[in-house]
Amino acid sequence: MSKIHIPTPLRQYVGKQTSVDVKAATVGEAMSALVAQHPDLRKHLYTDDGKLRAFVNLYINDEDIRYLQKEATALNDGDNISIVPSIAGGTLGESRDSGVRS
């Protein structure tokens, strides 16, 4: 079993859980299982042609998968997968100028 850590901005799409356990042999399989269980998450993580969005990084334990075997990186029991999106402060909710945001 591997644990996928869900960052705050995405927890609303997984029923507010902070992590999701999945059984998978590779990172790619684990992520497929995750978005299969929580389809609302898909468009926030993946483009229409199935690529991981560039502002989201995946880590196995503390290593970036881009420097391992990317989505083919093998998972061992107890591995932690972290989804790390870029964040930039509370601006989108609070900026006076971005009146479009509600």
Binding site: T18, H44, F55, D62, G89, G93
Partner: protein, 388 residues
């Protein structure tokens, strides 16, 4: 980063020696370290949530020259977390408010104030006069700008960012370490990162992360400890858990890689897909103004008011509408009667516009978006409704 060397101009006076005694008695700092702090020039971008604790602690620590970049004015809602500003400062320029507190803590501080928005035409020149840049900004275009300018001028970028209850901290743009683009080559397109319904931030959080940034600045200046170079610290304030991820310098990074393609600053708003003042999202869906809704409600017309905000927002204030949070709408759309006139509202009109578009796609024809949301209602119809 060029090593900061103390020279005669950074000799400490008797008063300074007494002031910094708690630093001086530690061998890791000592006179030499304190003089390095005095010789150091740190630029803080932003004097808001992150910038407040950052600047306060750097001033207290004895950083000799502190530059502050901020064009903004203190707002009442800032006081929940921007602790360098006080109630009496609401309406003042943040730079002036910050300057007062910083000089109050440490009159020896050489403060340089830059009342400007950092942009591609001023960043490089500005950064050249400083040794370390601390990024306390709150938007993606500026983050990429700061990063690129740091790499191009050879100054380390002490990075911190926050979102609700989580934070990140690292040190980018050192000679052998990664830069922000090694981690995130592209920004999220505006509107895609969950924001409206998830806005807000725990006031304490930028305090935690800002002080971490100050710590890293001091470590870089003194040359002690293990700075967060090549390390992304993830802070989970609710769990009080700290995790660390390894960051690597990307040899193909367009800015700091072996064959950089970005050799000067670009248009970061364009890069991040932000086109200046964004046009209201609500263009394209039928709108109704708050005055018109009031008229119809007073006339007891058959109007169904749908509120797509979150339950905790409903508790702050509401128009008595039927609450279905935006994200739940697809699952709960069958609770709505498409034969009725439906007016959808949220806080400011963005989420409700999305709801109207969704309802139209689901076959509803009598739906309107309340332009400006409950905020507009408070401003133009009933000031007793609190704004938040």
């Amino acid at each position: 980063m060029a090593t900061i060397t103390a020279d005669l101009s950074t000799t400490l006076s008797k008063d300074e020696i007494l002031r910094y005694s708690r630093h001086l008695i530690m061998p890791e700092v000592g006179m030499e370290g304190q003089q390095k702090l005095k010789a150091a020039r740190v630029l803080c971008i932003g004097t808001g949530g992150l910038g407040s604790p950052l600047a306060l602690y750097l001033a207290a620590a004895g950083v000799g020259t502190l530059g502050l970049v901020d064009f903004d004015v203190v707002d009442y809602t800032n006081l929940q977390r921007q602790i360098i500003h006080s109630t009496a400062d609401v309406g003042r320029k943040k730079l002036d408010s910050a300057a007062d507190k910083l000089k109050g803590i440490n009159p020896f501080l050489n403060l340089r104030l830059f009342d400007t928005m950092l942009n591609s035409s001023n960043a490089m020149e500005l950064f050249r006069d400083f040794d370390v840049i601390a990024d306390g900004t709150d938007n993606f275009p500026t983050r990429y700008l700061v990063n690129d300018a740091c790499v191009l001028t050879g100054k380390p970028n002490v990075y911190g960012s926050i979102f609700r209850f989580e934070g990140q901290a690292s040190v980018f743009a050192t000679k052998d370490g990664p830069c922000y683009r090694c981690l995130y080559p592209e920004p999220p397109p505006p509107g895609l990162v969950p924001s409206c319904a998830e806005g807000g931030v725990l006031g304490i959080l930028p305090g935690l992360v800002g002080v971490m940034q100050a710590t890293e600045v001091v470590k870089l200046i003194l040359g002690i400890g293990d700075p967060l170079i090549g390390r992304l610290l993830l802070i989970d304030a609710l769990g009080m858990k700290f995790r660390e991820l390894k960051l690597r310098k990307n040899p193909d990074c367009p800015v700091c890689g072996t064959h950089p393609t970005v050799t000067k600053l670009i248009d970061y708003n364009e890069f991040c897909g932000v086109r200046g003042e964004e046009k209201p999202v609500s263009s394209g869906v039928p709108e109704i103004q708050v005055e018109e809704l009031k008229r119809r409600l007073d006339a007891k017309d058959d109007v169904f008011v749908l509120d797509v905000r979150e339950p905790h927002e409903y508790q702050i204030c509401n128009l008595g509408g039927y609450l279905i949070p935006l994200n739940d709408l697809p699952k709960r759309v069958n609770e709505l009667d498409s034969s009725r006139e439906i007016v959808v509202h949220c806080k400011m009109g963005g989420r409700s516009a999305k709801a109207v578009a969704f309802l139209q796609q689901s076959g509803f024809t009598k739906v309107h978006n309340l332009t400006g949301g409950i905020t507009a209602w408070s401003e133009r119809v009933d000031p007793k409704v609190p704004k938040y």
